[in-house]
């Protein structure tokens, strides 16, 4: 490679990478502007707050997914783990808010550690390992719940975790926001975050540099499991019941949110802020569909939601692929 040429190429690639990464923020801004201009109640506190409360569960699993994907892995078990977390936390909820929370998060953490064990110690491909734990967690959730839903206690304050608010702001949204703040610091400002990205970029090199590659992989699966368990707690608290069959397809929602947020699946990259933007953007598609139906100009069934989401995902990945191809001509 031409040494004189290298920096400009790198700069160019960096610029395009930034565009690919923050394009989602532009898209989100445009969508919010569209909604605000078109629908009277779009920015009403009720719509905004219920939107944030509902989507906080997806935000939590997407954050965990981001860390796993940044190491070059994948976690298919998050939806089933959220379902399991919701059941276990609902079962524990009569003992109090803290117990319910701890039980849900702890269960998620435990499944995350199983994932870590299967991926790191047994050397099984993350896709298969977490596919198996997805089935296992779903089975355990159904067994624990006796194939039905488990009512959460309304007397112990547990449901505040999903339905309560602090100064008018829904608790689950605050929880999700706090997790994203911590996640941002962890990924962008700590040695752990740098090791996560290093493992995703080149695992062998990371290991040769003496960085704890294995420990980091254990950690990301544990984090993803714990966050999925937390999402389960929010689910149980929000709807007053642990729901063993909920959470189907959450893993794929989370993967799309991460990808729409500009993080490629091959690892070594990852952005917490744009993942949040990706979650909000995918959620907004459903919200805007509801408003559009409310206007009466069109009548699109809820089924259109997944068609539009799929089309959107395609648009984003094709645009990203084109940017990458232009950024590095030698790869094209």
């Amino acid at each position: 490679m031409n040494l004189l040429n290298a920096p400009t190429l790198a700069q160019r690639e960096r610029g395009l990478l930034l565009l690919g990464r923050y394009g989602v923020v532009l898209g989100l801004g445009a969508l919010i502007l569209f909604g605000a201009l078109r629908y009277e109640r779009f920015l009403s506190p009720f719509n905004v707050l219920s939107f944030l409360g509902y989507n906080s569960m997806f935000a939590l699993v997407s954050l965990g997914m981001l860390f796993v994907i940044a190491t070059g892995g994948i976690d298919l078990s998050v939806g089933a783990v959220a379902a399991l977390g919701s059941v276990v936390s609902a079962l524990a909820s009569p003992s109090g808010e803290a117990w319910g929370l701890a039980a849900g998060v702890g269960t998620g953490l435990a499944v995350g550690l199983v994932n870590g064990f299967a991926v790191v110690r047994l050397g099984i491909a993350p896709f298969i390992a977490t596919l198996a734990t997805m089935l296992g967690a779903r089975g355990v959730a159904l067994l624990a719940a006796g194939n039905g839903t488990v009512s959460a206690s309304y007397d112990s304050g547990f449901t505040d975790l999903g339905q309560g608010d602090v100064a008018g702001f829904p608790v689950p949204a605050l929880v999700a926001l706090a997790c994203f703040a911590i996640g941002w610091v962890a990924l962008e400002r700590t040695a752990f975050g740098r090791t996560v990205l290093a493992v995703g970029g080149n695992e062998e090199a990371t290991r040769l540099m003496g960085l704890p590659a294995d420990g980091t992989k254990w950690a990301v699966y544990a984090v993803s499991g714990a966050l999925a368990g937390l999402a389960g707690v929010v689910l149980a608290a929000q709807f007053g019941a642990g729901q063993p069959i909920e959470g189907q397809g959450w893993e794929l929602f989370a993967i799309s949110a991460v990808v729409v947020g500009g993080t490629p699946l091959n690892g070594g990259n990852g952005s917490v802020v744009t993942t949040l933007a990706g979650v909000i953007l995918l959620g907004l598609i459903f919200n805007i569909l509801n408003f559009e139906n409310g206007l009466g100009t069109v009548s699109l069934s809820a089924y259109w939601q997944s068609v539009i989401r799929g089309a959107f995902l395609l648009l984003v990945v094709v645009a990203q692929a084109k940017l990458v191809a232009r950024g590095s001509p030698e790869r094209a």
Partner: protein, 329 residues
């Protein structure tokens, strides 16, 4: 990196190697023996036929999935393609009947058009993957999400009753007492195994999975082969979707093929195909699909709840893949 596909592996015979090579077959034999001894009426034609009927759609999809995985890819959209094909069949039949007034033509079109649509969508998966160099998991995730939505939009989410006797043969018919779809599955396995072992395209598929760059440099038409395997996966999904509709005499876009991608991938993995690509066994996939089916029947027949069967399935997948891994390291 050595290319497993093209370099013949030396045959060393040891007990451990034999176990790893034939672990899946052994597990199947143990399951069969256990069931023959313990499960009542297991060897009756009725029970065997139910097992064959249930495993056929998974087996058919899993054969094509084996080819996709052999190229180093994956296809998450199979269940959604099944739903689209399943949703199309009654619609096409009704339209053809109204237009041409011939039930025979209606059945022919209600089989041909949905399968063609599924092939086209599968080819589209391959086109997106090769044209834009998008990872297969993301590219097929698009149709996984959108595909079921398309099927639901087409039917408004309603269950369509479809009890056409001739069409029903796909899922309910018997030839010499054997369910028709089981014969279809056997044909798919035979065709897949032959293609992979004996044909040029099979060699090319394995070469791509082993080392794509090397394959391209040695003149393998990588783009064409990849599009072919995803189109074949669409074909298999379309057929499996029609079988499912025929079995139920109705088409429910919410349910047809739901979770199929995971069952098919699990069958491939348990059967001993390398998920990274480059080494694949179609017969192994059939064994994998049979194992997963038998585990479920065994547990249910012996009073274990369906939910516990999920946990066992999870342990089975992890165990099988781990044992195979021991052979490589």
């Amino acid at each position: 990196m050595t290319d497993r596909a093209l370099v013949p592996r030396p045959r060393r015979l040891s007990a451990g190697l034999a176990l790893r090579r034939n672990g899946a077959v052994l597990a199947l034999a143990v399951l069969l023996a256990f069931n023959a001894a313990v499960t009542p009426y297991f060897l009756s034609p009725g029970t065997l036929n139910i097992n064959l009927t249930q495993v056929a759609p998974i087996g058919i999809v899993a054969v094509a999935m084996t080819l996709v995985i052999a190229t180093g890819g994956i296809d998450l959209s199979v269940g959604s393609l099944m739903a689209i094909a399943g949703a199309l069949a009654p619609i096409v039949y009704a339209a053809a009947l109204a237009r041409f007034g011939s039930a025979g033509l209606g059945v022919a079109l209600s089989i041909a058009l949905p399968v063609l649509a599924a092939i086209a969508l599968g080819w589209l998966n391959g086109a997106v993957i090769t044209r834009y160099r998008i990872q297969p998991i993301v590219a097929t995730l698009v149709l996984y999400i959108a595909g079921r939505g398309i099927a639901q939009v087409m039917t408004n989410g309603n269950v369509q009753s479809f009890a056409q006797p001739a069409f029903g043969f796909l899922g309910l018919g018997r030839i010499l007492g054997v369910p028709f779809q089981a014969l279809l599955m056997v044909a798919a396995v035979a065709a897949g195994a032959f293609a992979l072992k004996r044909s040029l395209v099979g060699r090319q598929i394995l070469a791509i999975g082993g080392n794509e760059r090397a394959a391209r440099l040695s003149g393998v038409p990588v783009v064409r082969v990849k599009r072919l395997v995803y189109a074949l996966s669409g074909l298999a999904s379309g057929v499996a979707g029609l079988i499912t509709v025929a079995i139920n005499s109705s088409s429910d876009a919410n349910l047809v093929g739901s979770g199929m991608e995971l069952d098919a991938i699990a069958a491939v993995a348990v059967g001993g195909t390398l998920l990274a690509g480059g080494r694949a066994t179609v017969v192994g996939t059939l064994v994998g699909a049979l194992i997963i089916q038998l585990v479920r029947t065994t547990l249910i027949a012996n009073g274990v709840p369906d939910a516990a069967a999920l946990v066992v399935k999870a342990a089975l997948i992890l165990g099988a893949v781990w044992i195979q891994r021991q052979g490589r390291s």
